[in-house]
Symmetry: C2
Subunit: 255 residues, 2 copies
DNA sequence: GAGTGGTCTAGACCACGCG
DNA sequence: GCGTGGTCTAGACCACTCT
């Protein structure tokens, strides 16, 4: 197993976390296997047990492993626990699906915000915002038609070069805007004639319309995106839990 | 603020967590307010700072607060961070949307498992399973057409009275099967003539098809459900995180 | 520089699962 | 009884933000 470096700027718990993750990802540790006990990992890495616990706690919250009091810590079953939906840009999403994303910029300008968009971005009606319209490709074939509204104040650096690859990467690097959470609604509808023509589908083809509002960690909305996906080329996969994530110690006993 | 009890069987960090949560829930601490610094909380409760950190870490993972390095810890915006993911049956989902669920049983029998269903339920092809076909109503109007395949071994008590209200409640009470997690895929398609007739829609109406495989906590699959929702009456709403912490996917009402 | 959260130590005792 | 994870201490130093 890879050793860790105390001179690295990367925290020890993070290096340990990645070390364990690597052993799971490369198949050395398989689902339902136990990982070494915390005490043993602490000795191996020459750190305190609390540091090992910090590493494992992260992996637990990711769903990669789970702890069992008195028994050990076990690699989770990938079939049911590792496919949490992530907040991805179109570019990132297609990459994760193993397809090559592409983009054709149809329009890019500043416009006054319509009431609905202004409300979602917590601006006043008529405030200046950025509007991008793009035809999105996957492996060279049209996949979706996307209209993105961005807060002008937060994202104006986007306008310097709107032919970027990944919106979220540019937002992080040029604008200092780090996406954190988003609310999405998903519905099914038919395309209008213009949409059908751009996407190269029949106007009777059912489409998936995904509308997203994205926020930074501070709860500030910066993006409203409407994406119309071809129903014949796209689906969504997500994981649902019966009860929201509960802490390690169970939640019954009262004082 | 409520003091904590060292003689209680409830861990100190848990009592502190609940104390902070209570101050947020009762409005004493509002969204974007900072909570007291960790050092101060440690002194107030007479515990070490690490114990306070453990309490706050739980609240962070719940999305109730968020930390900002060098600045403080802040109450999260409820509009974007407190939607919890839930695995609901159709009955429960409609109740949460404020609609009155209904059901018409079209078929209920044991059948041999087709290859795809057998694979998902981890059975052999041809093994006996239960198949339910139901037309589902919301406020008395057809909303979805649902085919549910259940493991015979785990769910046979269902057959005693298949005209139940909530599948998940019956599974818990009569079969001892407690749903824990599910994988869903969502796509858009047109109905065939029979489906359109049953749901009372035109056959050009785009529909949402949701396919679900549900598991118990042990990772054992017990249900495969195909639900075809009317696109004009149904949509999905879900929360996405940039770094997966919580499970996504709560359902919300549509037009 | 003061105040905050981020990381880390080197122990301790307890609760749980199992043989 | 033994090994495991669960909780907790009383400090330490660092990195970041704000003034």
């Amino acid at each position: 197993m890879k050793q860790i470096s105390r001179s690295s700027p990367v925290p020890l718990y993070y290096q340990i976390m990645e070390s364990i993750r690597a052993r799971i990802m490369n198949g050395e540790l398989k689902p339902h296997d136990s990982i070494p006990p915390e005490q043993q990992l602490a000795e191996f890495f020459s750190v305190s047990r609390m540091t090992v616990r910090q590493a494992i706690t992260h992996l637990v919250h990711e769903g990669l492993v789970h702890r069992e009091h008195g028994r050990g810590t076990f690699v989770a079953d990938p079939k049911i626990s590792r496919r949490l939906a992530k907040l991805n840009s179109f570019f990132e999403d297609m990459k994760e699906r193993g397809m090559e994303p592409g983009s054709r910029l149809l329009a890019c300008s500043t416009v006054p915000a319509k009431p609905e968009i202004a409300r979602l971005l917590r601006l006043e009606e008529g405030d200046t915002i950025i509007r991008l319209m793009r035809l999105r490709y996957a492996d060279g074939v049209p996949m979706a038609l996307q209209t993105t509204y961005l807060s002008f104040e937060m994202c104006k650096e986007i306008l310097e070069d709107p032919e970027f690859e990944s919106l979220y990467r540019v937002l992080e690097e040029k604008c200092g805007v780090i996406p954190y959470i988003a609310q999405q609604t998903i519905e099914s509808r038919l395309p209008d004639q213009r949409e059908a023509a751009l996407l190269g589908v029949d106007d009777g083809m059912p489409m998936l319309l995904i509308q997203r509002v994205s926020f930074t960690e501070d709860g500030v909305p910066f993006e409203v995106a409407h994406t119309l996906y071809r129903g014949d080329r796209f689906n969504l996969s997500l994981t649902l839990y019966r009860s929201p994530v509960a802490g390690p110690g169970s939640l019954s006993a009262g004082p």
